[in-house]
Symmetry: C2
Subunit: 368 residues, 2 copies
């Protein structure tokens, strides 16, 4: 993997770049749609390409449980299995320690957990996690890390920073596939001193890229932004920075302003399946009564396949009738919205109009 | 609407033709995918066009209940509402008298029924049914008819034939939209004398096309075929013949051999959502254990988007993981299979090789 910064904003922080992998290039800053179970819910590979996504995220924890590694190995790896020929990033399962907390027990050795599918018991060490991801064959992989709820006490966060560091060492020692880039993950909750400590220790291991974990897990936007700013300014400028699990328009813009290069989140696709749709004037819920007879597209400013073909009235009917097409049209629209936003942010960095573009977008987005 | 027979098989029965409507032409014999609630489940209009479907079926009963006529009228009719610019046929609701039997009470005046959605009470007369379909604006419409279970006694079937005839008269008298073609429906269960009586009475009203209802509702294939043969041979040769609710490969072939021009059925799409997929060697269920590691396409002889992109192993995983993409890929494959079969049957009529083609297809289809 290579990362090249092509343009730098006059704020000296935001940058547009190119991430080159064995499966192709990614223009950054980039948003990675999430294919948790090796599928961006409801979309075919062709459609994801058409939407302009250049990289996907999938999840080692989920794929390990279902379909299982043997099946993906038999297919020749994750790219082949899911017919996706562009770059993939796999997350380790660290976030599931947080999100499936009740099913997990963390120790120095690794994570003891029960499958959320069938309740079966499993154990994953940092070494296991590397072996799993080597089999999956993603272009960028993540070490097992320890992500905590935002309101954890300082001592627990301190322990999770130390553990994440120790696990990162073990992950690095157990990297077997030279075609994969292993990123380091910075934890530390919303404590700026602990974030600094985490950056110091993780960057001392010299990873080809750095992920920022443990944000957007319930803390206020203000706390998230100040923590993010304090973290990114310490990270080496020439390495890609990946803000994990962030995907609202507001957070993406703030992330880019603070120098982030990669984002992923289920937010746009999960919202879509609940009928919640992005428009240039803010979010709407297409299920609402008011849209029953509205013949306008979701967003008059949008030229996606959905907005150029279908009315709000029809999509309202699809959602009220539980028609599968509704979830899919909503997913296409929301992903298109986010991917166009990223495209515009990249263009704004190139023309050094990032602040103006961001303010204009956010002013309009706050209208509704 | 115009119907032109272009080629006749040397059996003097099967024919290939062209049905011309205000929304375009349909090559017959044709299979109409079913958009019960104004959506072919999981597919966009673009995809249905790409699959080569030239006409859809939708359902007056379902659309009347949800989204309701006002909403479709407000959109400018069903074509506009669902963004489908090719021909549409709407069924009346007669089949729902049979399939939702417990919620229905039939009298001379019409049908008293409870909504399967919210239990609300409704009444639909043959006149109401025409008004509903005039509002929907389909190219071909159906009168309200009385469809019975296959094991009904002869007296009941006789009564349903008489009622269907009387309702057809009332439907014809209440046709308001000259751009729509109202077909007559032949009922009569599996009684050949009653089918003859029904053909006599319905054809005396001189409709521009004739539908055969009340078959494929649980009777044996043998009984279905003998009844169908006795019915079609009495129908005027120059009018299109529509066999309602039939869509398995075997039935489609038999129907074409007996001179049918139009078919519709939820069978291919409903099977698909259950993981049951057509192949040139018979049906398989993609959920089965044996396909977990099978890297072949669903059907090696198929060139659809699904078979040229995805493996059985991946689709098996999608179904086992309840991923929306699975239902959709299966739907695309099954509809493509049926639409290619119809295309081949039309070509075989044109080259007068229908019997040979049909036997070859069925020999292979029975392999598994």
């Amino acid at each position: 993997m290579e990362f090249k910064v092509n343009q730098i904003s006059s704020n000296q922080i935001s940058r547009a770049g190119t991430l080159s992998t064995n499966h192709g290039e990614v223009s950054t800053p980039a948003f990675l749609p999430v294919a948790t179970q090796a599928s961006v819910k409801s979309l075919s590979s062709h459609e994801i390409v058409q939407l302009g996504a250049e990289m996907l995220l999938s999840n080692a924890y989920h794929l390990y449980l279902r379909p299982g590694l043997e099946i993906i190995q038999h297919a020749g790896g994750l790219h082949e299995f899911m017919s996706w020929n562009a770059p993939i990033l796999t997350d380790s399962g660290g976030f599931q320690i947080y999100s499936l907390g009740k099913l997990m027990r963390v120790s120095e050795n690794g994570v003891q957990f029960k499958s959320h599918i069938d309740g079966s018991s499993h154990f994953m060490s940092p070494e296991d996690c590397m072996l799993i991801q080597a089999t999956l064959g993603a272009d960028i992989i993540m070490p097992l890390d320890h992500c905590l709820p935002h309101d954890s006490d300082t001592l627990d966060i301190k322990r999770s920073v130390t553990r994440t560091y120790q696990w990162a060492i073990r992950a690095k020692q157990n990297q077997t596939n030279p075609n994969q880039s292993l990123f380091g993950i910075v934890q530390g909750g919303t404590s700026i001193p602990l974030r600094r400590e985490a950056v110091d220790s993780i960057t001392s291991l010299d990873f080809p890229g750095y992920a920022i974990g443990g944000l957007s897990v319930g803390e206020s936007a203000h706390l998230m932004y100040t923590t993010l700013e304090a973290t990114t300014e310490l990270l080496p400028f020439d390495k890609p920075r990946y803000l994990m699990g962030v995907g609202s328009p507001e957070h993406l813009i703030k992330g880019v302003l603070l120098g982030i290069d990669l984002f992923d989140c289920v937010f746009p696709t999960r919202l879509a399946r609940n009928g919640s749709l992005f428009t240039s004037q803010g979010r709407i819920n297409v299920r609402n009564q008011q849209f029953k007879t509205n013949l306008d597209p979701i967003d008059g400013a949008c030229v996606c396949l959905v907005c150029t073909t279908y009315s709000l009235s029809y999509i309202n009917h699809l959602f009220r009738s539980h028609e599968l097409l509704g979830y899919r049209l909503a997913t296409i629209h929301n992903l298109n919205f986010i991917l166009r936003l990223m495209e515009n942010l990249r263009a704004a960095i190139a023309t050094d109009t990032l602040v103006e573009y961001s303010n204009r977008f956010l002013d309009s987005y706050a209208t509704r």
